[in-house]
Symmetry: C2
Subunit: 373 residues, 2 copies
């Protein structure tokens, strides 16, 4: 039986928690895996019925034994639900989608849960909207899905969870729970905290100040719109690794503050020696770090050339612009739509491979587009 | 003569500094103001000849007296150049485009320059590329251009500088030099420092960690690619106001760190009372601050609905997508192109007015697009 139960092709999958992620997993499996039977569970009868009505699967009546259980609960209850699922379904491989992994694994080990059958996971996917109503079967398409095997795992259980992520179109990334938590502290949790703190400073800013804000501030603070309750749970569950990164940021910040304080009182007779160099070093360190981010499709980053085009603010304007870029045979690598304060014109910034910039500019100019940068 | 010299329609404009901004000002005036004569000056004969060859104007031989002088030098020399221009051209209105304003004004007043004729300005425009070769006559189109009049100013001198910004298509915003410097410390200089510090933490991160980085980190650190030397000059020139904002951010960060430290050692027997609430409050404050940012065209922000579409990574794909959005009569408010690590598929996130979301999703589905979120 164990070989069936642990096979990468599950026959019965139980999804516990029918929010955005759980319902998306169920919808994705229903549409992408032939013959799989999905049974759903959620403490909220309303959420459960909604997921069923959306076609995610049937409500679990306890009539079938799952060979795979996917726990998709809020971070603060994930560990206890994983433990109860391990005890309740002794044949099943159990995984979860919580965004912090060591705390769940530690709880399983501490409580003597069957560590051979628990394989933690974290799909790096989400939406600004939440709940079953926002779920999509293809939510995980092309996104990284981290899985965290342990030495205690039955390898077939690991294959089963890897198979789940692959079946949903995700890109599987394997690392330990500790490596995962350190990684998300650096690349997700710390940026969230810093974006929130920078945005928090805007609360009591003069209207005239926010009125001249540009794309840079918008980019830095975009994720500051996130849900405070959810993020308090996430940051609390990863407190140690996040505090370690934030403490290093705080020390770097103190270095910049010391340099600025010296410059603020600088006089010709008493220059602030080294202060400008300290600031330049901090900015240069950021540039080196930024260059480590993978470019498109995980390749090394390319220095793209940028072309900015002014477009009228009306339906179809972007359509015409991109039809013209398509005619030019130029592939747009990155793009952003900037806003022109007080004017009914949009500025579209197109990033292309440097070799393609002149072709694009010529093609757009021929089509009458106004290139403004 | 003074009335001519101070008129909003200059006859002779002298541009000092033929880098990106100075050359863009000259190109814009040449193409947008009939009959204006542009004379150029730069300490670098190469840069000067390049600007002339690009059609920005003629090299200043000292044969004509300017009625408007635009100083477009690096921030660390702007004040002394403004002073020398005021002394050298006693009829001219003198403005500058330095990104910090109080230090220039203070230098003019301290040196006894003709404060009636100096009106500081700051066009909120730039590019990742620099130098005359990157200049565009329309660089300022639709961007805010802050001008900082003083009680000492001849009102016609203020009109002349306002006329310059308007002639270049910019949106004129008037505030005092101190208000400007406090504003840019908050909305430009602080975000730059924080983006650099967050990105700096990536320098020695494991490859596996940066490999799973998502759009959030990319947004927060995008401006971290900026020029360290230029930013050391800008931050040094605005050290006091920037330090004041960064110190408040540091204090908020210490509050989050204290809460995380308490949570890291929390036990069932000894709960970290209030720590989760402290973190949730910091994230909620960021959300409130973020909501103060003006939306499109300076209006109040709208909560946009988001539609994410998977597109093949090939020329013309965006063209087809936006042709189809255009057919649907839906106006795209914001958009970003996300990357799918290790896969040749792009994820385009379209923000539309909530009322338009269903129409857009229906239209795209009908055209065979894969909506993934």
């Amino acid at each position: 039986m164990i070989s069936d139960a642990a096979s990468a092709r599950p026959e019965v999958v139980r999804v516990v928690g029918t929010g955005l992620l759980g319902t998306s997993v169920a919808l994705g499996l229903s549409s992408r895996v032939d013959g799989v039977r999905i049974v759903l569970s959620d403490p909220s009868p309303t959420s459960l019925a909604l997921a069923r009505d959306l076609g995610a699967g049937e409500i679990d009546r306890g009539e079938v034994e799952p060979d795979l259980v996917v726990v998709a609960c809020p971070p603060d209850v994930a560990a206890q639900v994983v433990l109860s699922e391990l005890a309740r379904h002794p044949r099943a491989t159990v995984t979860d989608v919580a965004s912090v992994k060591a705390s769940v694994l530690d709880a399983v080990l501490a409580a003597g849960g069957d560590a051979a059958r628990y394989v933690g996971g974290h799909p790096m996917a989400g939406r600004e909207r939440s709940g079953a109503v926002a779920a999509r079967g293809d939510l995980f398409l092309g996104r990284p899905w981290v899985i965290c095997p342990t030495p205690k795992n039955d390898p077939r259980r690991v294959d089963a969870v890897r198979g789940l992520a692959s079946a949903l179109g995700a890109t599987v990334v394997t690392m330990s729970a500790a490596e995962h938590d350190d990684a998300v502290a650096l690349i997700s949790h710390t940026p969230q905290v810093m974006a929130s703190l920078v945005a928090g400073r805007l609360q009591h800013a003069p209207d005239a100040a926010v009125a001249i804000a540009g794309q840079g501030l918008r980019d830095v603070t975009r994720i500051a719109g996130s849900d405070p309750t959810l993020w308090a749970q996430i940051l609390a569950a990863n407190a140690g690794p996040v505090a370690a990164v934030l403490r290093a940021v705080r020390d770097d910040l103190d270095g910049v503050l010391n340099a600025l304080d010296a410059l603020a009182v600088e006089q010709d007779a008493a220059p602030a020696r080294g202060a400008r160099a300290d600031i330049a070093r901090a900015v240069a360190a950021g540039r080196s770090g930024r260059e480590r981010l993978p470019g498109k499709h995980g390749t090394r980053p390319t220095a793209f050339a940028s072309v900015t085009v002014a477009i009228p603010d009306e339906p179809g304007a972007l359509a015409r612009l991109f039809a013209d870029t398509g005619d030019a045979g130029v592939n747009i690598e990155e793009l952003t739509l900037e806003h022109a304060p007080g004017r009914a014109v949009g500025l579209v910034d197109l990033s292309v491979l440097p070799a393609a910039r002149e072709d694009l500019e010529r093609a757009l100019a021929e089509h009458g587009w106004q290139i403004v940068g």
